[in-house]
Symmetry: C2
Subunit: 335 residues, 2 copies
Amino acid sequence: METPARRPTLRDVARRAGVSTMTVSRVLNGGENVRPALRRKVESAAAELDYRRNENARSIRPGQRSRLVGVIITNISNPYYAWVMSGIEGVIGRSGRRILVGISHSDVELEKELVRDMIGRQIEGLIVVPSDSGGAHLSPARLGIPVAIASRPLAGIEADTVMVDDVGGAFEGIKHVLDAGRRRVAFVGAGESVSTSVRRLAGYRLAHERAGVPVFDELIRRDANDVASAETAVRQLLALPEPPDAYFTATNRIAVGALRALQPVAGEDPPPLVSFDDFDLAGLMSYPLVIVDHDAPALGRTAAQMLLRRMDDPEPGPYVQVTLPSAVKRVTLKG
Amino acid sequence: METPARRPTLRDVARRAGVSTMTVSRVLNGGENVRPALRRKVESAAAELDYRRNENARSIRPGQRSRLVGVIITNISNPYYAWVMSGIEGVIGRSGRRILVGISHSDVELEKELVRDMIGRQIEGLIVVPSDSGGAHLSPARLGIPVAIASRPLAGIEADTVMVDDVGGAFEGIKHVLDAGRRRVAFVGAGESVSTSVRRLAGYRLAHERAGVPVFDELIRRDANDVASAETAVRQLLALPEPPDAYFTATNRIAVGALRALQPVAGEDPPPLVSFDDFDLAGLMSYPLVIVDHDAPALGRTAAQMLLRRMDDPEPGPYVQVTLPSAVKRVTLKG
DNA sequence: CGAATAGCTGTTATCGTTACCAATCACGTG
DNA sequence: CACGTGATTGGTAACGATAACAGCTATTCG
């Protein structure tokens, strides 16, 4: 019967090198004030044992940082959030820290539990794409660590926040089709609880108002959350007595669903689609599109940078709210 | 000047409830053998202080599991790996464990460093999409914890492995276009170091051999790693004196690049594209496509399940190698 | 040559938690 | 009423690492 094969500890390295644990600890933390001969002995002993410091044990000492950052996003299978994640990872990874990920699946209770668990694991900071617009459980004051909020603003929470210019992007996209003479533009997005969708709808209304074009309630669908529900919603819009002459979709997933409904019935002059968020093959679609683009990795990068700043600087000043630009990027309207 | 506001500890809860730390610990671990009155007192004290157990401190005690799993993937911004991640997260999250992620960017040295760091953080198990086909540093025997390898086999490593049937899927896809009478099918993929690409090329060769169709070296491009390089490679193939009459792309990213080159010059009877991996809008493309599909989340789920089994069962038996099916899913060839 | 100094190394205590054991208490039994 | 039994509770000692201090050894300088 073998022993369970525990990993070697500082003590094991010390024994092997014939020194005290403190000397080993000093060598491993930069080797200041250790004779080169001893240092080499310790280093080779550590290498032979394949020793790795137990970071958890280390982090229980006061004043030691865990070099761990928590990241909570709502959905990892959506490429958009994967990009955000990618931006976060680039910055956090380069700072020598590791990432603890949690997927909230847009469930506030799960999000709370994830936060609590991560706090228990001594994260130094937290980046969250919140599940909901309310979130006292995300307050940095309450958690005792810096927090960066990405993608949507949080009511009543004092924390660094980075968002996309949803209103401006939607405004510009809608203006494009209104300028092209369209007068019945459908809005397909999510409901009250998804604040990006709320702000994109605000941009939609603003563009109509400025252009003096009336908004028709029957053209506003707020029940599209994913590809399938978007496809259904657009099918129903198509079946209206007086169907839309253009479509605005609040996310790229919704755009994909909408295209599935629109493309097969596209006739001579199909109603153009304005999509918030770019998607891979947008440039190759034969369907007329207006793409409102923004930089998802930059969202992640910015959130990570804001967090690092606050983690490293004891007096980083007041909370910041950054809005990243979004703008019409590509237009494939014919004629 | 405020104190640095450390989180409350077990001791603080004990003091507030007027009991010993052991009693608090017992309550927090299930509350066996504690009088209900005391238990309630402890619970309310913990709630008032918003106490959260320090999991790191807990995990240094022998026999305590960290409930932490490491996941290392090569690239998070590729939707394919995001799906794999999604499958992993579903299974691991439901088991009450958290995920420590690392992105290796296909850099073996970085991968090694990530593994070492994660070991230092006391992960219970590790799931890896390896950067390279060699990897002694990933051996579970060496690391002392279970390891699951996803996506590509590792030479000489004893570990649970889950892969996709690359040879069979490529074979079927190629067979499709050969049966349709194509005789100059280009292969666009990555080089020797990417083992999925190697195996997909094997399937490509096998299909030709079985059909008695010669393979032309000039049609085989092994320098495509991403969208941009794939686009370039296909442009060059198009410029050949005798260009291909069909294309096989080894990944969905490469397919996107290929389409960017092919679609703009598509004439009457464009060379069909066989893509390994599905992509969102494949069904809506006007270009003739053959999609070889496989289930990326299932890859992640399977890896996670294999890992959990080995983590929970002290005698899980010999290492397993699972191959998930891949098959032609959708065909939009005209005629 | 003696003493002050600087550099190196070990000892001890501690971080937050839990395993182990001892102590206490209520209760029923002979 | 003495005793055993079982449940409840607390004390103590780790787990692995490091901060603070103490002790030791060379080196330098007057």
